[in-house]
């Protein structure tokens, strides 16, 4: 094949053009024309091949980030799925906000594990749970219908899920609210109040000197103000996110390189600092916000769960905290503390580790990091059994 690949142009055969000075307007026109042609061809190629469609988030002042409603997402980073987010931006089928009569609702909150972009939509545990609940209802001639609504979003912390409940979930009036958590979620619930500069723009929580849970949304607020100053740029980026596959490819590359290449992430932060300095701003400037002592992420998370349980109860919803199987054996204490808390604060706790240990093919439950289709089925089945056993949907 090497021979086939030998130069697309055999330049020696093409006569050397006579050197002549071109007017600069013609050169500029050439650049624009070739650029436009290249962009057009790449966009067409990427659409045909189904690549560059993995950018699906936009910045939100309250939640940090949200799904772009109606965005087509073709996921290939781990596993595969090709679906469109619903008109509210959830990775789910369409659901009316008003709860229909005779319907029991389950709201699913969580991060990428619940969002399940790694598997087709109908294989996610939320969709499977809805199917199995309705299937068992049909078998027993139970007239109740069940709706499971998936509010999960990649990278969400428990803090974001807490805010999301009031902002988005409560109007759907769920009878049960399920949150799939893992130990890794806890660190994202707090921020070092003296080093906010490099933190993700999202809501954080902290405990004041009297142990009260307080929200710190200073970073998201600060980013929002910065964005307001660059409205044109933000709109352009929003447009590119929604419509450009080339932009999607570049963002995906940026993410992959930031994770995998140390030199790239160093260069990236250097360029960012330099560009801020060039604008005459101090790149070391900290976003303003409340100052508080360093926080214990586990304690804050426990407080968030307690607060969420209270909020669910106020909205006639039963909270169920579901813990992802603890494959690496790091969260035994976290799980035990939550179990104690669940009995004190009357929320359901389902630690999937126990069922996972009994799974006949534990290697099939996960892909590289996230749940496989079999994994989603395992979660749906275990959750269904738990809801039935506890009579949470009666």
């Amino acid at each position: 094949m090497q021979k086939l690949e030998k130069h697309i142009t055999n330049e020696a055969k093409i006569p050397e053009p006579r050197a002549s000075r071109r007017p600069s307007w013609r050169s500029a026109f050439e650049v624009v024309a070739y650029l436009a042609l290249a962009v057009f061809l790449l966009e067409v190629l990427f659409r045909i091949a189904g690549v560059g469609s993995q950018e699906f988030m936009y910045f939100d002042q309250k939640l940090g980030n949200k799904h772009i409603p109606g965005k087509e997402v073709i996921w290939r980073l781990e596993g595969f799925s090709a679906e469109t987010l619903n008109s509210h931006g959830y990775r789910d089928v369409e659901h009316a906000v008003a709860k229909p009569a005779g319907i029991k609702r389950v709201a699913v909150l969580g991060d990428s594990h619940s969002e399940g972009l790694q598997v087709p939509l109908n294989n996610t545990y939320a969709r499977r749970l809805e199917a199995s609940l309705n299937g068992s209802a049909n078998k027993t001639a139970d007239k109740t219908g069940y709706e499971v609504i998936n509010f999960a979003c990649s990278g969400y912390s428990t803090a974001q899920e807490y805010v999301q409940f009031s902002e988005e979930v409560a109007p759907y009036k769920p009878d049960v609210t399920v949150i799939l958590m893992h130990w890794g979620n806890t660190a994202a619930n707090i921020v070092d109040s003296k080093n906010r500069r490099n933190a993700q723009p999202r809501p954080y929580f902290y405990l004041d000197s009297e142990g009260r849970l307080l929200e710190d949304n200073s970073i998201a607020e600060w980013c929002y103000k910065q964005d307001a100053q660059n409205e044109g740029l933000i709109e352009t980026i929003g447009f590119l996110k929604r419509h450009s596959r080339i932009y999607g490819v570049l963002c995906q590359t940026d993410l992959a390189l930031s994770i995998n290449e140390r030199l790239y992430s160093k260069l990236r932060s250097f360029i960012k600092s330099a560009s801020i300095s060039l604008q005459g701003k101090d790149y070391k400037a900290e976003p303003p916000g409340p100052v508080y002592p360093p926080q214990d992420s586990i304690r804050v998370t426990q407080k968030i769960v307690m607060a969420l349980s209270k909020k669910c109860a106020e909205n006639d919803s039963k909270l169920v905290i579901m813990l992802l199987p603890d494959v690496f054996g790091v969260s035994a204490k976290f799980s035990k503390d939550l179990t104690d808390l669940s009995s004190q604060h009357n929320f359901g706790l389902l630690d999937l580790s126990d069922a996972f240990k009994k799974h006949p093919n534990p290697n099939d439950v996960f892909l590289r990091v996230h749940l496989s289709s079999q994994g989603h089925k395992f979660v749906a089945d275990t959750l269904h059994a738990f809801l039935q056993q506890k009579n949470y949907l009666q």
Partner: protein, 495 residues
Amino acid sequence: MLFSSFNYLIFLPIVFGLYWVLPDKCRKPLLLLASYFFYMSWLPKYGLLLFGLTLANYFLGLLIDKSEHRKKLFLTIAISINLGCLCFFKYTNLLLDSIWQGLRGLLHVTGMSTAPFANTPMFDILLPLGISFFAFEFIHYVVDVYKGSSPMRNFIDFALFGAFFPSQIAGPIKRFQDFSKQLIHPAVFNKQEFNDGLVLILQGLFKKVCLGDTLAQLVVDPGYANPAALGTLDAWIVFFAFTFQVFFDFSGYTDIGRGSALLFGYRVPENFNLPFLSANFLEIWRRWHISLSTWLRDYLYFPLGGSHCSVWAQRRNLFLTMALGGLWHGAAWHYIFFGCIQGVILAVTRDWQKYTDKHPTLSRMKLSAWWHWSAVAATFWTWTVLLVIFRAPSVTHAFSMYAKAFSSSPAGEITTTLMTSTLPATLCLYGLYCITCALSNRAVEKGEALPAMAHGIATVWKQSVPARAIAYAAMAIVILAFAPGQVQPFIYFQF
């Protein structure tokens, strides 16, 4: 440093810029420094090994050239040093493991306790990258000097020959006569070479990252990791996927290496020439990893007697050459087994060729197109099936893969994964690129005029710098778009 890593993307332009900015006398030392930096970025201490071998071979080469009566002695010392290093780093643990296994077997048969030999003592040896390649280059150097070639007298030139980063880690195995010729004249920047180099680098990256790595991550690695989960169709897909993976990986590496060398005005040999269009195994080894097969021919097969001996000696020579070629690939029995099978097939192919040449009907049939293409298909299929032994971690594992391929199991997940991936689109794109190149080359070779549109594109490519710059950027974006999540090391790095 991987050619397909971000570090190389930074390293190459810096070295390129400095190379052409600095005066000519500084360029070779700069390339040498860059090559050592490239090598030592992986494990600094092995830079000393490379330097030590370079020093030893340089002086031994000069001694071989000068000496009247002790040429053979110096040659023996040089070969011993090179092979000694190669064997120590590569084969010590295999040897220990084999001895211990043998002892255990012996004790078991004689009914004695195997407890004292229960655990094989293993050295904690990390194989220096590229040692198989530069050791072979040094052996070629001292042997050729012994045969009468003039040695390289300039140490910087010689050190650059041994360490030249575009071919340092996985070849192609250079010949010093070709390389030293390029060192005589001052380097002059050539626009054509620059463009050819960039196209080769981008083409190599596409082959390596978009095709080779994707095949590895989606099909080959999961397939070989769990043969029990494979269906019959899956097993065959995995077999063919590995054949293409190893080709795209290695020829992609070679393209990037050749392209990088061209940016500095150097040419390194080609390593592949349409290997899958070979009509027999003798031909495939003339087209696949050319620099290794010619090395094995010149420094192993010919010294063993080549084809100037009895029929059985010829067969033995072929067998030994290929068995050692198999061992060169890695310190494991499945590589040796792979090499032995290749040796047997080559010997049988040669006998078959001699037989058909003598047989008038068969020799007429051999000229027909259907015979040729059937032979191409059979060769490709056999090559694919044999590569399973090469890829599998052990011979037993390879046989469990064969068992799946020749059973009738329902399709597993690999088929679905493959169809939902970008791979079909990537392969189509690559096919389109190859067809365009083939048609363009054929038209030029036959002296035919290119179609109007192709001629227009070629003219724009030739004349417009912005068009070329935009096209390179577009090609780079295509590579990023079709690249899998994680970059994999090159297969031949482990050899």
